[in-house]
């Protein structure tokens, strides 16, 4: 070609040659590029063939209506011939209530269902602050889910009416003053507790009033003695309220205005209800504690740092089971004689500490990944320590650590199955053991494990996919 050259007409793009496009190219590149690759493809195909050929008949011959395993097998033999295998999902039909709710009384199932639905309503102001459309959409989904499940579990009429009123009110506030919705998020824990365990309505109200006491004392005292001492005084007042005033106030109010739900004992909880209660509480309380521990570990103050490191390393160094046994066996030694509080609560506390220690390490990683300049910029703006953390440092550090935080949450949720070792009825070991001990279903193993495993998989996989989506969405730096 001439060394002096100028093109007058640009060449149009052409389609690649036939060997370079379409299915042929795809197959050649992705499955048959080298002898080794061909071997891999054959191996992969063999594995898939083996899995499908050995399990497909079993799935196809599923039986949904039977009263015992023997009956199931008879049905399979009758329809598919001697020696055929088939899944017996009839067991799930009979026992699904226990897998989901444990021994929670069936006529009260509407309570955990509403609590579960309202959880998303309570989360909505946090997840979609200011995005009215998404908020409304979520609310609609929650309402539809609740109405459907309540109908399916034949809930009483008042539950429906209450729910409709609530959803309408919530939606109205969401339209007018979406900022106020955060108040619902704040009272949700008490509401949820009351719905699940029942008892006098005054118990959660008076307990929440403790925070009111804290706030009032803090506001009254802060002009007199300064912010930090006032906060201390507020906490002290609240603790005194909870320790000494709560019980008499509740009983007094209850005698004047008796209103409550039927009480449910902790040993009636079970199945995924238990797993979700422990998981969600553990997750929501471990995050703030984890943040504090991470900040403590990053702190310049020697004593604070040592205590944080000691706590984190201790909790991470022992298996969760030993902590759960601490909850069931040792807490009685560490608390004042005669104290005896609920086993679910004890387990939640220990699970929360466990998750908090792991979260602290994850968040510390996020803090360490932030460039030094961010701290300096925050100082230069004249922000004090807590403001700098809250406005500049933590939002970024938490954003970086979202994938790791979510996988800690997933780990925590999976670990809720370990509560079966302290006598609680988790879906995996607790309920499945009971089903497998039932004379009608003795010898069944694939079906309950597949059922429970599938639910765990859906929840955990969903969480991890959501975190990936969130990570993409929050990626504001251009890289």
């Amino acid at each position: 070609m001439d060394q002096h050259f100028a093109r007058t007409d640009m060449l149009p793009p052409q389609a690649p040659p036939i060997t370079e496009r379409g299915a042929v190219k795809w197959l050649r590149e992705n499955l048959f590029s080298t002898p080794f690759n061909i071997a891999l493809t054959v191996f992969g195909a063999a594995v898939i063939y083996y899995l499908v050929s050995s399990s497909l008949p079993w799935w196809l011959n599923s039986v949904w209506n039977a009263n015992s395993l023997g009956e199931c097998r008879d049905i399979v033999t009758a329809s598919a011939g001697e020696g055929a295998t088939g899944a017996c999902w009839a067991m799930i039909r009979q026992w699904w209530g226990a897998f989901i709710f444990g021994f929670y009384p069936p006529d009260l199932w509407w309570r955990p269902i509403i609590a579960f639905g309202l959880l998303f309503a309570a989360l909505s102001p946090v997840l979609f602050s200011g995005q009215k459309r998404k908020l409304t959409a979520l609310l609609a989904v929650v309402a539809a889910f609740l109405l459907l499940t309540l109908y399916l579990t034949s809930a009483p009429m008042p539950a429906f009416i209450l729910l409709m009123v609530f959803i309408a009110g919530f939606a109205a506030v969401a339209q007018v003053q979406p900022g106020k919705l955060i108040w619902f998020t704040l009272i949700y824990p008490a509401l949820c507790f009351w719905l699940l365990w029942g008892g006098s309505i005054w118990t959660p109200i008076v307990a929440m009033a403790g925070f009111g006491v804290l706030y009032v004392v803090f506001r009254l005292a802060s002009p007199l003695i300064g912010l930090s001492p006032a906060a201390g005084a507020g906490v002290l007042a609240a603790v005194l309220w909870w320790l000494y005033l709560e019980a008499p106030v509740v009983s007094a109010l209850q005698s004047v205005l008796p209103f409550g739900l039927q009480s449910i004992n902790s040993d009636q909880f079970g199945g995924f209800l238990l797993a979700i209660v422990i998981g969600v509480t553990g997750i929501s309380f471990s995050l703030p504690i984890g943040v504090l521990l991470a900040l403590g570990r990053q702190s310049d103050m020697l004593i604070v740092k040592t205590l944080s490191v000691g706590f984190i390393e201790f909790v991470r160094g022992v298996p969760l089971i030993t902590l759960l046994f601490t909850a069931s066996l040792l807490l009685q030694y560490f608390l004042p004689p005669g104290t005896n509080f609920d086993i679910i609560l004890r387990v939640i506390i220990l699970v929360t500490f466990f998750a908090a220690a792991y979260l602290a390490e994850v968040i510390r990683g996020g803090l360490a990944a932030l460039p030094r300049g961010q701290y300096e910029a925050a100082d230069a703006l004249g922000l004090d320590y807590w403001r700098a953390q809250r406005l500049i440092i933590l939002p970024q550090a938490l954003k970086i650590s979202i994938p790791a935080i979510v996988s800690t949450f997933i780990g925590l949720f999976k670990d809720t199955t370990l509560v079966s070792f302290v006598g609680l009825m988790d879906p995996l070991r607790g309920v499945t053991q009971i089903v497998r001990a039932d004379i009608n279903w003795k010898g069944i193993y694939w079906e309950p494990y597949i059922f429970v495993g599938a639910i765990f998989f859906l929840i955990c996989f969903g969480m991890s996919r959501y975190s990936m989506y969130l990570e993409q969405k929050l990626k504001t730096d251009h890289r």
């Binding site: 690759n37 004593i303 160094g317 046994f325 040792l330 495993g453």
Partner: protein, 425 residues
């Protein structure tokens, strides 16, 4: 122009404790310390009162009392006449052996799966993704229980392996058959595997209560010697390369040095495998591996391998494409590029999280309780605790042991981290 302005020397006011940067951090630390001390004192006080109320005292003397229970799998010789401390050691050994095998299998499987996930083969890549996602997102306890149930309920009874005369005459096969050239039989009582035996073993010597197996020691010594000689061969190859530029082929020397001596030793000692055989209604000979152990190792390896696969994949992906392109542009072949450029860098990324997976696996062995595997938690934290009623002592001791295992593993990890940290400005 010295215009030094002195810090105003105001008198000390109480509010300075909170608002003066010089005192503030001390004030906070002292408050924290006091609160912490109060909490500890409160807990101790409660404990003392509770112990008194129950008429118990805090001491570890019970460890030297007769245990009185049997342990199925024992790597340390043990009978039910031994004391609780011995039972603790047996449990600890059981914990460690499960962790050891679990780590090895999980690593092998995890590395293979992680590399296959990166392969250009679409089918295998997808298959491995499915494996990883399924195992990561379902609780470990399910895998342990499921493996155990399959092993102990689906597997045939020993007598199903029998071939009676009538069946032989009728030309029928027995209901169950052994695997791997008739050497392994999985029955509902356990897995029968061949046992390594020596005709002319070196015996053992007693050393202060512990018996040392000389045969085993001899094998270890020979392997160590081979590894040492192999390293010398590699070193001399490197020296040769540095001097002349040509690197002599080492692979056949390495193979010879690594395997020949140990094979010779095994032949000399009359090594043979004793294959389990069916005698009447049960298997005789060979070794019987109990199902709890198998279930724990299988489930822990499958579960942890899924996490390790992700770590390996992420580690290799973390090395930018530019690195291998630069190596290719210099004329290095893909294999060399992997060995000299990619792996050394990827290992730095992979090893720290890999070790923390080993740590998790070790802690997860405590789930053995679900299948009645008597590990540390099953002996010290289970039967011993229940028999003696010493909850406080047993739990504290158990936590201490787990804690020291964890802390020593993390100490190793920290040492590794600081030794390989990349130098940067």
């Amino acid at each position: 122009m010295a215009m030094a302005t002195d810090v105003p020397k105001d008198g000390f006011r109480l509010s300075m404790l909170v608002y003066d940067t010089r005192y503030r951090s001390y004030t906070i630390q002292i408050v924290v310390l006091v609160l912490f001390a109060m909490a500890v004192a409160w807990l101790l006080n409660n404990t003392v009162q509770n112990l008194e109320a129950r008429g118990k005292e805090f001491n570890f003397g019970f460890l030297w009392q007769r245990a009185g229970y049997d342990i199925g799998q024992q790597l340390v010789p043990y009978t039910n006449d031994d004391n609780h401390f011995r039972a603790l050691l047996v449990g600890l050994a059981n914990t460690l052996v499960v962790a050891f095998f679990g780590c090895i299998f999980a690593t092998v499987l995890g590395v293979v799966v992680g590399v296959l996930r990166l392969s250009s083969n679409w089918l295998v890549g997808r298959l491995m993704t499915v494996y990883v996602e399924i195992f990561r997102n379902v609780p470990l306890l399910l895998w342990i229980l499921l493996t155990y149930v399959i092993l102990s309920e689906i597997t045939p009874q020993p007598r199903d392996f029998r071939l009676t005369d009538e069946m032989a005459a009728a030309g029928e096969a027995p209901a169950a058959s052994m695997m791997f050239f008739d050497s392994v039989a999985v029955t509902n009582r356990g897995t029968n595997i061949p046992a390594p035996l020596f005709e002319r073993g070196l015996g053992s010597v007693e050393l202060g209560g512990l018996s040392l197996n000389l045969t085993f020691l001899a094998i270890v010594a020979v392997v160590a010697g081979s590894v040492f000689v192999n390293r010398r061969i590699l070193a001399s190859a490197r020296a040769m390369q540095e001097a002349t530029g040509d690197r002599p082929a080492t692979w056949w020397k390495s193979l010879l040095v690594l395997f020949a001596p140990v094979l010779v030793l095994l032949v000399a000692m009359g090594f043979h495998l004793e294959v389990p055989t069916l005698q009447g209604f049960n298997f005789q000979g060979g070794m019987l591996v109990a199902h709890p152990f198998t279930a724990m190792v299988v489930a822990l390896s499958l579960y942890t391998a899924a996490f390790i696969a992700e770590i390996v994949r992420a580690g290799i992906q973390a090395i930018s494409r530019g690195q291998s392109e630069a190596a290719f542009a210099l004329g290095l072949r893909p294999g060399r590029t992997m060995n000299l450029i990619i792996l050394p860098q990827a290992l730095r990324v992979i090893i720290p999280p890999l070790i923390s997976q080993y740590l998790n696996l070790t802690k997860n062995t405590s789930l053995g309780i679900a299948v009645s595997y008597l590990d540390l938690r099953g002996t010290l934290g289970g039967i011993t605790l229940n028999q003696t009623g010493r909850e406080l002592e047993c739990m504290l001791l158990m936590m201490l042991i787990y804690l020291s295992i964890s802390l020593s593993i993390s100490a190793v990890m920290n040492m590794y981290n600081s030794s390989v940290q990349l130098k940067a400005r």
